[in-house]
Amino acid sequence: MLTQEQVLEIWEGKRSLMKPHYTVAGWKWNGRWIDKAQKHELPELWPGYNRAVKEKEIISPHVEHGFFPERLFKERAPNQSDEELAYMRANFKQVTLPVYKDCQNTILRALHENNWTIDYAPNSEEDSGVAIEFKEYVTEGVEVFGSVLNYVKFIVPKVYTLDSMGLISVLPKYISTVTQEVDGDAVEVIDPDTQLEPVPQYISVDKVWGFQYGKWYLWLTEEKSMVKRGNEEAKEGIVLLLVDEVNVWRIEQTGEKYKFEFNITLWWEHGRGYPLATHLKGDPVLRDGSACWQSYYLTACEPLDIVLLDTSYLQASKAHCVFPHMIQLGDDCEFIDPEHGAACGGSGKLRWWEPDGEAGALKEHWKTCPACKGQRLVARMGPQGKLLVRPGDRNSDGRTEIPNVSEALSFVGPDVSTLAFLRKEIEANTTDGRAILHLSTETQAVQDGSGTDVKTATQSGIDLRATYAFVKPISDRIFDIYYFILKGIGDIRYGDNFKGVSLTRPTSFDMKTEDDYMRELEQARLANLDPSAIWKLEWQWVKARFQHDPEAEAVFSIITAADDLFSLSEQTIQSQLTQRVIEPWQVILHTQKVSIYEEIAREGTLKRADDVKLWKAEMQKVAKSRVPKPVVSPAMEKLQMAIAK
């Protein structure tokens, strides 16, 4: 826990660093305005600060929509004009966003509810009322997102990717107070009748002004304080919070704005024993001897930056030089200005003289020919848009030379091989970027002999193991944050009455899609694997296929439990039927299990929630009733009688 003197000392250090760059109109560095979106080159508020801010800026164009990587374009073409940069900005497309989307979707599969569990009352003998209320708040009462889980799913993966040195805090947005009389004085205290409503909040790295891991965190809030600008008061002052293991300190700008002076007050004594904020974290690195965190996405940004640049230049090239240009014959312009009688005569200008006041003096005037616009030539287009070609001169022998009219008009197109090269570069770099993130690509495939590229189950399995190794630490950290938020909320709302929450993280999670299972299943059948192994794969396919449809999954679990032949191939079934190893009713149950289920459900004999054993018995009963009675032909009857005689 920090004393007030220590808080003051910390603050003074930061204030003295930032004051030289603070102006009434905004932040400045070396006399230049610092763009709001790119707050780099500020003082090193903590070791690695500027680097961390820059890293977030590097990742942003690939993750956040609407972010233009100006630094990339300026570094790539330092001599480009402002107009050219403006053109690039106006036509910029964030073509690498889908790569992040795929990455995010892969990570979110680890967060699927099938892979982890949560117990809101791990010590069930303790006060379960608190647990119930806690569960209600974290699943329904969180502002904007409804539940903490939604916040973790929708916000945390993105900010974790973007900003490893950013913070997640858990604090009440506001604290209701009441005025009480203490020793004759009116004192404002926290309203004991109002339950605190803590919410998780993300703080961007550029707003993190200082920290000591696990002890205290200082950040710039969005809130503004009242300050004076000349004779007027304005809500333009900055407000910061410093959170330590016991207290939340409020550092508020006051007085004249230009003076950059602050008031430090104890906003809230939370008393939890740990600071209610934590870094998002990522891959650990050392910066100036201090530990920092770096995003896993940075490595992929190298090739993806090239993709963004090349795509922009490719787009620009397409607009400027891909389309063919028409070249056609022109004639000297023969325009005559009706007003002055001046003729162009192929010069591109109209020149005439007018009296200049003094008797006899003429002044020359001229202007650009309005017909040819100074080009000197006019097109030979006829009234119908046809190109008219003059016949050739008459030769000495009296015959007129016929010109080659096909040379009168042609189209010139540029060589597009450079553009094709750029396109290939873009594809190659996108593939590299995806490979770094362990996202599958179409190029990871083998031929299956029929000419179709197919990823084998082996290749798929290797890829999935690599993806698992990649996603696991990310999943672990996201669950750490989830747990931090839950614990923080519980501690803030219920204090010592909160007995904790048990969160069982995923130790293994299913990254495979239904297509992955289908590939494995095909290979298992070809290899004639044991039916039990095939059954397992089929069931995993069902779960992957219907994971978003619990009702369908439940129905499938019933009908597959009733079907003894579920995993057998058609050939095996036919063979076993011929050998009388299995009965005809079992085959009927296998082929008609869905209709049998629906018949039982329709008649209301059983409900879906009923025990699977009851369903199995009933489905077998229906299957037996559907076995057709053998129809004996007269010829067969004759044979049977002949044998029996």
Binding site: K638, L639, A642, K645
Partner: protein, 286 residues
């Protein structure tokens, strides 16, 4: 019933196999026509079979449908008629045997039933013709699909596999003709052996119809009476057409071997011709 009357009746029962084989020939024709229809329903392009998974997946289905032809009514009736022939054979044997003494027909009835079941199952079960028909046919269809063979040409080839054409009996007849003949003959001979054992008769007349393909073994013995012990000794001999399982015990059933329609009729000693008796005495058999 005299042995001449028995032999007269035997001529009729001997015709049952021929009738069945004729019906089998018709079955082959029906199978061939059905196959042609099924082949025409495969994926065809420009008159040729389309190589591919779809056609390959239907080979099993085609064979399975053809299997069911072995239970069509005309063939089932023909098999029923053939099976009924065992009753006629049994009646003949019993009638003849009863001229030699009292007989208990229980054992013979049981034997007859087993032969009926074996015959009916053999003739109506598709598995009986796996090696001769279904497997080669499946292989041919598979090969035709892979190579994209012209449908018309392949249909002719496939049909010939079943029917045999002018120069061969066809897959079913070629396989079954010997079996069909031998089953009835073996049953007949087994029956006569049974009654001989029951009546303790040691003398047998080697009799039956002489046909173009009568082998040397049978020709040497035909029309003569033989002692049981002489017959048992034949089991150790070798001759062309001998059924490999022939022993001194089974010789009474297998006799001349494949396609042998001859019978060993039990004979009272008094009915044994003199020359045969003299031979037996010379061998000190009597």
């Amino acid at each position: 019933m005299s042995f001449r009357a028995f032999l007269e009746r035997k001529k009729k029962t001997d015709q049952a196999a021929a009738k069945l084989l004729e019906a089998m020939g018709s079955l082959q024709e029906r199978l061939a026509d059905r196959l042609a229809t099924l082949l025409s329903q495969l994926d065809i392009k420009a008159g040729s079979l389309v190589p591919g998974e779809a056609n390959a997946n239907r080979i099993g289905e085609i064979i399975s449908i053809l299997h069911q032809q072995l239970n069509d009514d005309p063939w089932t009736e023909a098999v029923a008629d053939y099976v009924e022939n065992y009753d006629a054979i049994t009646e003949n044997v019993l009638k003849y045997g009863r001229t030699l003494g009292r007989l208990d027909d229980g054992f013979l009835s049981a034997l007859k039933r087993q032969f009926k079941i074996i015959s009916a199952e053999y003739l109506t079960s598709a598995a009986s013709f796996n090696l001769e028909l279904w497997i080669p046919l499946a292989e041919q269809i598979g090969g035709a699909i892979i190579s994209g063979a012209p449908l018309a040409d392949f249909t002719v080839t496939a049909k010939l596999l079943i029917t045999g054409g002018d120069d061969a009996d066809g897959a079913l007849v070629g396989k079954a003709s010997t079996t069909v003949t031998d089953l009835a003959s073996i049953f007949e001979r087994s029956s006569t052996q049974l009654i001989a054992d029951e009546l303790e008769v040691d003398f047998f007349l080697y009799q039956g119809s002489e046909i173009d393909t009568t082998r040397e073994f049978c020709l040497e013995r035909l029309g003569k009476a033989w002692h049981r012990e002489e017959i048992e000794q034949w089991g150790d001999e070798e001759w062309s057409g001998r059924i490999p399982e022939t022993t001194e015990d089974t010789i009474f059933s297998f006799l001349g071997g494949y396609n042998c329609r001859h019978v060993l009729l039990p004979l009272a000693e008094i009915d044994v011709p003199e020359p045969d008796l003299a031979r037996m005495k010379a061998k000190e058999l009597i």
